[in-house]
Amino acid sequence: MSLVELEINGNKVSHDVEERQLLVHFIRDDLSLTGTHVGCDTSQCGACVVHVDGKAVKSCSMLAVQANNSKITTIEGLADGENLHPVQEAFRENHGLQCGFCTPGMIMAAVDIINRNSILNEKTVREELEGNLCRCTGYQNIVKSILAASEKM
């Protein structure tokens, strides 16, 4: 076992973990933050995307021990109390989800895309969504949501 100490959504946590535990399982099982999803478990689908030290990563392909001393943001850390984050709001406004399984990863990826690109167009958004799969929407409204959110951020 190894001790992992990190900050998640502004809260400091400290846990003993098995070295082989994946970050996504640490977040979901040990910290009970179940907004982050496990989709494919093979780093293709992006349902597990969280931000580690400000960078979007796939938490199913990272060990919890690797995240020691880091700052993590998950989907639960985006909203400001009752007020949704602009990207969450845009997904709601633009019908950017259907079943919603991919949505936490989509939104975490979208926040990262908007942070990194001062000017966004449809082509860039589609390219940047390379690592996130959605099997319901056909992406149309997801792209629309991200473009709408980028105007407000």
Partner: protein, 266 residues
């Protein structure tokens, strides 16, 4: 995943000491190949030595007409580096085409070349530009470094420190990515300077990345599109799997070579 021990190290020396003391250990950098491989139980090292936080391995700098990249520099950092965009745009473009944004935030150049996946992109840039690879022990030319499928010249207790790419503006990389994984189904890197023309192919051969000497010769005799079109890669020794037959991949390499050539001349 099988159980293993884990150690985060801070210096190159510490990493080498750990490797020497633990013969069944593996170096963990970004983990974008190693962790999925361990999840599938295709690898089961006794110990992981995490080098991601070694400061002295994370850098990009220009030195006497070379761009030197530290081994734990991730793909995003390479693709977004203004220095690389200006000096070797083909390299930043190549880095931008690896995996997806989340993978690029973790995966490292040192990991990519040490693993020598036959469909990885960086080995093509190393061979195609004639890079020099500095390890914890020595310096190796890319031509000596890549041996075969998932095999390099690295000893058990040796790690990659940095990769030095000659600044060659006239270079281009074109790959046909597998639609799911974005690994190259066939990728061709071409570079041309005053003395040398190099053509490297990834994604195709059963023995991993290689220099396409017939193509190099043809282009050296006459730098023209017809010189590229006249050379055909033989399907012999080319990978064949559910994604494509060897004939398909060989033909794809021909097409990628034409597009890479056009990319330089645009």
């Amino acid at each position: 995943m099988y159980q293993f021990n884990y150690k985060k190290v801070e210096t190159i020396q510490e990493a080498v000491n750990e490797l020497t003391a633990n013969p069944d250990s593996k170096i963990l950098a970004g983990g974008m190949t190693l962790i999925p491989t361990m999840k599938q139980r295709l690898a089961s090292p006794e110990k992981l030595i995490d080098i991601r936080n070694i400061e002295e391995l994370n850098f990009i700098r220009e030195e006497s007409n070379n761009i030197i990249i530290g081994s734990t520099t991730n793909h995003f950092t390479v693709s977004s580096s203004d220095l690389i965009k200006e000096k070797i745009p083909s390299l930043s473009m190549l880095a931008e085409g690896i995996g997806d944004p989340h993978v690029r935030n973790m995966g490292t150049i040192g990991g990519a070349i040490s693993n020598n996946d036959p469909t990885a992109d960086y080995p093509a840039a190393c061979l195609g530009l004639g890079a020099k690879i500095k390890t914890s022990k020595r310096e190796l030319m890319a031509d000596e470094f890549f041996i075969s499928l998932f095999e390099t010249a690295l000893d058990e207790d040796e790690i990659v420190v940095s990769i030095s790419f000659p600044i060659i503006k006239d270079s281009f990389y074109m790959k046909f990515p597998n639609p799911a994984s974005r690994y190259a189904m066939a990728g061709v890197f071409i570079s041309k300077n005053e003395t040398d023309i190099r053509v490297a192919v990834t994604g195709a051969s059963e023995n991993g990345v290689f220099r396409w000497s017939e193509m190099e010769e043809s282009l050296s005799n006459n730098w023209s599109k017809s010189s590229v079109e006249n050379i055909k890669l033989s399907p012999e020794g080319i990978m064949s799997d559910i994604h494509g037959s060897s004939e398909y991949r060989a033909n794809l390499a021909n097409i990628m070579a034409i597009r890479a050539f056009e990319g330089i001349n645009e």
